[in-house]
Symmetry: C2
Subunit: 191 residues, 2 copies
């Protein structure tokens, strides 16, 4: 079946702001997969398909569709028998991470995953100095619940992320070696 | 943002043949989620988006997109700390399940998941008598490898599925209580 030969750049421009972090994570996941270390994938963007053309001798073409709100986080998979579930977020802020970057359904999903025995977290990048952190779901829940209070903070201080998270230093293979931070999280949780 | 008020039936008609089993599994997963038993979701259909309209005062409309080949199975999630990964398949055959219902990349993905410590399987339904089975990935791999031989069987006998799989008896809540079969699989694997 014929398909357009070129992938237009538009195809990777929609979506949330975490695109460059996401691209690096996708490459990192491919590396982990190739090395037999872990199987972690970004979920496809959920789309509600309304109209499809089935032309003869060429690929079915979706002619009308809409973006749906995802009901989960973007990434999940398996590493050393552990179920991992996370989302990746970037912020241009320098000293704090605004919690409005998360949707309530993402937090609810992470809570359900942790309750079922999975490991949940966020990967947060401060784009100004490209500092990247793994933030455990437990601390994210704490901040989320606090933000729901009338006088609660609506953002997480960077200093708190540094204290409660694990910094992920960039590398070549993989670009974002976040499973090192997962190892630290697992060790800390066992203590 | 405005969206079309009606969901056209076309939106649920594409895809593979396992639709009614998939619909039952989606309901079952919703039940398991509501009960706090497990967090298992069907992944969205992967779509390559080529053209998007951003009209004023209404939702972004995808005007051109194509179905992509999925690189994984349809379902994954977490249950009692276990990573589960599976696909659902229906067949009209009465005495065997044709292996052409699987793609090589799905088998490769299941192998990678099992190697990383996850639990992989297929849920297979014979639509003629609506008999549904959980087939462990290990036996599926065995049949797949055999089919690659010149004189290998290209299908799995129903009797072999009955012998190596776990039958899932339909229920009301959930419709397809497949986690009972997962429990049996876990117990058998531990022995
Ligand atoms: Mg995201
Ligand atoms: Mg399927």
């Amino acid at each position: 079946a014929k398909r357009p030969a070129t992938t237009m750049s538009q195809t990777t421009n929609y979506g949330d702001r975490g695109m460059s972090l996401e691209a690096e994570l996708n490459e990192s996941n491919q590396y982990y997969l190739n090395q037999g270390v872990a199987v972690i994938h970004k979920k496809p963007t959920p789309v509600q398909i309304v109209k499809v053309d089935y032309p003869k001798r060429s690929a079915a073409t979706i002619k009308e569709a809409y973006f749906r709100q995802p009901s989960t986080t973007d990434y999940n998979g398996v590493y050393q028998g552990y179920y991992l579930d996370f989302d990746a977020k970037e912020t241009k802020n320098k000293t704090s991470f605004p919690l409005k970057n998360f949707h309530a359904h993402q937090i609810a999903h992470l809570r359900a995953c942790v309750a079922a025995g999975g490991i949940g977290f966020a990967i947060i990048r401060f784009t100004d100095d490209v500092a990247t952190f793994l933030l455990p779901a437990s601390f994210l829940f704490h901040c989320w619940d606090d933000a729901l209070q009338t006088d609660g903070r609506k953002s997480i201080r960077r200093s708190a992320i540094e204290a409660h998270g694990y910094q992920i230093n960039p590398a070549l293979n993989p670009l974002v070696p976040y499973l090192n931070a997962v190892d630290q999280l697992i060790t800390a949780t066992k203590k």
